[in-house]
Symmetry: C2
Subunit: 203 residues, 2 copies
DNA sequence: TATCTGTTGTAACAAAAGTCACAAGTATTG
DNA sequence: CAATACTTGTGACTTTTGTTACAACAGATA
């Protein structure tokens, strides 16, 4: 598993590969486990080798998705935290049983100047995440929820099907279940989707 | 001017200081000039030595602030763009006449692995910007505009006074002037602020 | 002073989003 | 099968935000 990750990162330095193997730990987590909780100090960089994790912010009654971590994806927030001892401002919950590669913060910081390929890796993650978040931000500001929902469905569809409950969508888009149900019904009336049980078909 | 910036960055390597001086250019811009436009390729890292720049996203009829660049602040977006040739997804307009330090992208990338203090600088900028943006994001998702406005006024107040027009505030918070005027009037009725011409006093 | 531009106030209405309450269907599991 | 939890539908209502239209005032300048 680590090999695939190392390959994906285009890590060439043998010493770095050795260091990663030596200092990192691999943990497994069940669906529903919290990987990171708000206000907790982050002490390791977390990379999902397998499974799925949802990283989100919450207020009293609603949640909004920051990003999903799928196989071989890196938690930008934990990476960010590695460079300065700081608390998390998000939660991360396991959505599908997963295997996680944990690298203690001090290594992440050291490697950044020691190994070129690690440096490329971290700056790429930052760049991509930052660009993505800015776009999310202005969509949230300017797009009506109906449009955000429809765009989101399209982006998540596999073979034009999205297997999610209305409640899940609400948590991802930062609203409530009733609102999602209503908007989906409207989309169905406009013949843009067909609704099923935990399933939305885009037409 | 460059000296202060170098000092602020805690740059110790004499060669780096030399390189910065040699490769960078200093430009001046008048109020209203565009530093960066949406969909333009970014070719230099921009650091505001003096003056003020507003970086924002726009749609047809509204704008939302991403961040202000004040004296000695670095444009995270242009930094981000340095690591991969890419188009801007924001605009940057001069709000107060300014002096800008421009560093071509290839240097920014090289230095990141060549000089430790430069590496620290870039990762710090990324970390702070990313953390800040995540918080802005969830505020936008969860906080009513009235609260966002009030919090914003408090954060921008100098001696409890904010010298901005309603139109400016609208552009910063991603809404329209009329809405801001109404919400401010409500805040005044609740004795939270006193309104004047281009001036809001927080009480 | 007259004119122009920018600023603020505000009413009336429309649209979007959130809340509450309840009903009914589906899936899961002891 | 019965009980339970999850899922979806939906009406009625409220709150928030956006839109349109117009009036009045302030400040700068010719």
């Amino acid at each position: 598993m680590i090999d695939i990750f190392i390959q994906k990162l285009k890590i060439t330095e043998p010493e770095l590969i050795k260091e990663i193997r030596e200092c990192s730990t691999i943990t497994t987590h069940k669906k529903g486990d919290f990987i990171i909780k708000e206000n907790e100090y982050i002490k390791v960089l977390k990379i999902v080798l397998e499974g799925k994790v949802r990283v989100y912010q919450a207020n009293e009654d609603r949640e909004i998705l920051i990003y999903y971590l799928n196989s071989m994806e890196t938690c930008t927030l934990s990476l960010s935290a590695c460079f300065e001892d700081c608390k998390s401002n998000v939660n991360a919950i396991v959505e599908e049983d997963c295997t996680i590669l944990n690298i203690p913060v001090r290594f992440v910081k050291d490697w950044n100047f020691k190994y070129k390929s690690w440096n490329n890796f971290t700056t790429n993650i930052f760049r991509e995440s930052y660009m993505h978040l800015i776009n999310q931000y202005s969509n949230l500001a300017f797009q009506p929820l109906k449009d955000r929902l429809y765009d989101y469905l399209i982006s998540k569809a596999e073979n034009s099907i999205v297997k999610k409950s209305h409640q899940q969508l609400a948590k991802e888009l930062g609203t409530t279940r009733e609102v999602i149900s209503r908007l989906l019904k409207n989309l169905e009336k406009e013949n843009k989707v067909v609704l099923g049980q935990k399933e939305i078909i885009i037409s």
